[in-house]
Amino acid sequence: MYADSSDKQPKIAVKDLNKAFKAAKGQRLPVIDGLDFEVGEGQFVAIVGPSGCGKSTLMNILAGFEKPDSGAVLIDGQPHPGPSPQGIVISQYGSVFPWLTVQQNLMFGLSEKHGSDKAALADHYAAMVGLKGFENAYPHELSGGMLKRVELARAFIVKPEILYLDEPFSALDALMNLRMRNELLRILTEEKHTVLLITHDVDEALYMADHILVLSPRPTRIQARFELNMPHPRRLISPEMDQLREAILKELGLEMPA
């Protein structure tokens, strides 16, 4: 997988990215300090970093909502076109429109090119994420886990080439978090996408990603890279996983007792 992506053009190429915020008294607070990485077509890459290291800023730049101070984000070798349905963001806060029904939310991103029967397409995707029967419900009538499903379906329905997941399940309870990981992996076997996951949850990355990049504390840069050539579904408890987890946590500054 990694081998054939290296001779093709990477889906996402991040080149010497820098970003600083304006701090008090005209000072500049560097947040991202020379970030370099590539994501191949169809890969699932997780970026793990300590909290406050600039993960959300990085995600905003990758999705096109913010501009870097220097460096570039290339999509298919082209400069980032700004926010577009080519890459859909799913964040921990969620952005399901509360004034639209589930079906209307799913139809939101659909345009003329998606055919005439948008409602049927929306219902198909609602069923795919297990929301059959809730098409006409309003978001405030749904649980947190169901809202996440709406958000996933709303993203998948526009067939984005890239999914940007910004701690997507961290607002859910632990059990629902685990369920949604499986749900996401199940959908990804049906619909192939390039996925970039940003998280502080090492196990989430270990469970889903093909590559894991570890960020340093702010100003952040890539501190370590790990590759996981393991099939799904994965066991999070195995000697191999334990070793990887320990290595990643060590990079994050957490030494396990021997």
Partner: protein, 253 residues
């Protein structure tokens, strides 16, 4: 006792108490002018029978309807524009903030000067009274739209039209309804005040006319109570808008 009754009973008891005390005081003081509650009831029936009561009510409601309708037609689009376009906000907000605290009553002399003693003057006053709450609420509604929704809309690459129809307007709708409640409230306050000074019909006119034409304080109080009841109903009608399915999200959780 069921819970519905438990809710209704205490306010009814208060109203009954007020009427009781009023009655008792009037009887005890043997006031020659101040009416008992029963005299107010008979006075109201008298007005209702000869039809003048309905004329006054419809006159006042019509003025509020036109003035408030115009205020919505101007205030909501203006508020959306000022909320969306920073330059428009910077340009117009200061003057609106300066005009807003001027009581609509203060405009009465100018209204009479410009429009004479007719229907236009009170409609103008109602417009002036209710347009500012609508502008202010709508503008702040746009300003407080959660950024994640605007980002999601940008992410899905929707057109400006869809952005406005499907995101901005529904997001602001609850604030617009608040503006409407405030606006309709002040509009009703102002129509009565304006009619007391300038006109030949309306509930405000009824109050002044009843006093001037033979100290009919029973009719003064009848008009006051009717004004209160209609004000309550107007608020109730605008509150019904809060029950709309598309704005329920704002009032739950």
């Amino acid at each position: 006792m069921n819970s519905r009754l438990a809710k209704i009973l205490p306010p009814l008891a208060v109203i009954a108490l007020v009427i009781g005390v009023w009655w008792w005081v009037v009887v005890r003081s043997e006031s020659p002018i101040f009416p008992t509650p029963w005299q107010v009831v008979t006075g109201t029936l008298e007005l209702a029978e000869d039809g003048t009561l309905w004329e006054h009510i419809t006159a006042s409601l019509m003025r509020v309807g036109i003035g408030f309708g115009l205020a919505m037609g101007v205030g909501i689009p203006l508020g959306l524009w000022m909320g969306w376009v920073t330059g428009a906000y910077r340009t117009f907000n200061p003057i609106f903030q300066m005009l807003r605290p001027i009581s609509p009553i203060a405009w009465i002399p100018l209204a009479i000067l410009w429009f004479g003693v007719g229907d236009v003057a009170p409609i103008f006053l109602i417009f002036m009274a209710s347009v500012f709450p609508l502008i202010v609420q709508t503008t702040s509604g746009v300003h407080t739209i959660d950024r994640r929704y605007l980002r999601a809309a940008a992410n899905f690459g929707v057109s400006r039209g869809v952005l406005f129809r499907r995101v901005v307007i529904p997001a602001v709708l609850p604030e617009i309804i608040v503006g409407m409640r405030v606006g309709v409230g002040v509009a009703w306050l102002v129509v009565v005040a304006a009619e007391m000074i300038a006109l030949r019909s309306g509930l405000g006119y009824l109050i002044m006319d009843s006093r001037n034409a033979g100290n009919r304080y029973d009719l003064v109080i009848a008009a006051m109570i009717i004004i209160g009841v209609i004000g309550l109903m107007l608020d109730g009608i605008t509150r019904l808008l809060e029950k709309l399915k598309t704005v329920r999200w704002r009032y739950v959780r």
